[in-house]
């Protein structure tokens, strides 16, 4: 056998063996990996409304259990109305805005959770922001996926950063919409006191991540503003629309 054909046969056999191994591993582990990803998202939803503790370990089954008892997923349109199945023949899943409701054991809506999907400095930032049923106070904020620089922008996944969001307001006392911004450095140093409730502490060395996240959150909350308005005016709204799920409180 010539050298050349020997090389080609060797390469072909090697490719076959490696390819088989990788396919087997990828297929064999796919279910477990998918379950991990699902469970991680659910965990983050629960974390954003404080249903699980941040430092404790939970099994996937525990998370599913808590999730199914408290959280339900709905789709809304840009006016904040709940969606029926179809519009112009396309399923609502394609264009509706997803929203998660945290409904407590008495059947009251405690908070609504908006999925965060925005760009960061190096890639997408995915997470959840939970807003209390007053439609203006942030209950929690979590990130489950990002590609920011570890130690710098990557700090957005840390509790100290996320905890800063709790209790901040997305509207001014007058009712005007302002969203929530990430300050440059400590919010207390760079932002006047009366604006402080709309800012969280930034990460030093990660100004750009903060900028992108600020813009992303603003766009996101603008999209969902109609829902927030419903929650803010829930008393008046429910006098006339008693049968919608929003009014279960």
């Amino acid at each position: 056998m010539s050298d050349r054909s020997r090389s080609i046969i060797f390469a072909a056999v090697l490719c076959l063996v490696c390819g088989t191994l990788l396919t087997a591993a990828s297929n064999g582990l796919k279910d477990i990996q998918q379950r991990n990803i699902m469970s991680d998202r659910r965990k983050n939803i629960l974390k954003s409304v404080g249903l699980i503790q941040k430092h404790k370990q939970y099994s996937a089954a525990q998370i599913d259990n808590i999730y199914e008892r408290n959280i339900s997923r709905l789709l809304v349109d840009e006016k904040g109305d709940l969606l029926g199945e179809n519009r112009d023949g396309t399923p609502a899943d394609k264009w509706g805005l997803p929203i998660y409701l945290y409904i407590n054991q008495k059947g009251l809506i405690e908070a609504y959770i908006i999925p965060v999907d925005t760009r960061g400095l190096w890639g997408k930032i995915l997470g959840y922001i939970a807003i209390k049923n007053d439609g203006s106070t942030i209950m929690g904020f979590t990130i489950y996926k990002h590609s920011e620089t570890p130690g710098l922008g990557g700090e957005i996944e840390q509790n100290w950063f996320q905890n800063n969001f709790v209790g901040k307001k997305i509207i001014e006392p007058s009712g005007a919409f302002v969203a929530i911004s990430i300050a440059k450095g400590k919010a207390a140093d760079s932002v006047p006191k009366e604006r402080y409730s709309h800012y969280v502490d930034g990460i030093s060395g990660a100004t750009l991540t903060g900028k992108f996240l600020t813009k992303g959150l603003k766009d996101l909350l603008t999209n969902y503003e109609a829902v927030s308005v419903k929650f803010r005016n829930i008393r008046e709204y429910c006098k006339t629309n008693q049968n919608t799920p929003w009014c279960r409180r």
Binding site: S7, A11, C18, L29, Q33, N36, I37, K145, S147, G151
Partner: protein, 205 residues
């Protein structure tokens, strides 16, 4: 028997100190910069790296008498890439949180010159058991530098070790501040430089 023992011993311990891949041979610096912000990621990276370099050396060494010379680099690369992807899939299935933290860096083991270098320089000309032990030694040598750098960076950069606050609050109250610089890549360069200097000084080179 003694000769074999000495050879095995040399293959294991040599790379940890006298022929350390990072501090003496200056290989694999890039990943040493990237994953040493925290000790936890550094440890998982070291373990994954040891796994890959040990088994790639073993497999390459087992194939060394059949691999055609002209495509040997491709063969080595295919073996290494397969092992790295296996390690990555495994982490994603069973250690999801850690794999999230390491993100792309596990995949980048493929480009780590240590793995390729050991396959090419050692495994191709030595029997499998020696190649395997050489791989473990190199993984350990790489890991020990990584841990040293990560220890310094996490302690001074964020005041923690393994994510647990070490520097007491009273220090901060009296004006101590974490060195933000330690979290940046250039700090790892400087620390590695200092470690190299320390090692050269100790060995009298």
């Amino acid at each position: 028997m003694r000769i074999i023992k000495r050879k095995t011993y040399r293959a294991l311990v040599g790379p940890v100190w006298g022929e350390n891949p990072i501090s003496i041979q200056m290989l694999g610096i890039c990943s040493a910069l990237a994953v040493t912000v925290q000790l936890k990621t550094a440890i998982v990276m070291s373990i994954s790296m040891t796994f890959v370099v040990a088994f790639s050396s073993l497999i390459v060494s087992m194939m060394r008498n059949w691999v055609p010379r002209n495509i040997r680099i491709l063969v080595e690369l295919a073996v290494i890439a397969t092992l790295v992807i296996l390690a990555d899939e495994f982490l994603r299935a069973f250690y999801y949180d850690i794999s999230k933290q390491l993100s792309v860096f596990v995949g980048l083991i493929i480009t780590n010159c240590i793995v390729m270098g050991r396959a090419e320089a050692f495994a191709l000309s030595n029997p499998p058991h020696l190649a395997f032990i050489d791989g473990i030694g190199n993984g350990a040598g790489y890991g020990s530098v990584l841990l040293a750098v990560a220890f310094i960076r996490e302690l001074f950069g964020s005041g923690k070790l393994f994510g647990v606050k070490i520097i007491p609050e009273s220090f901060y109250a009296s004006g101590y501040e974490d060195m933000g610089f330690m979290l940046l890549a250039p700090a790892a360069f400087i620390i590695i430089g200092l470690l190299v200097w320390l090692q050269r000084y100790l060995t009298g080179d």
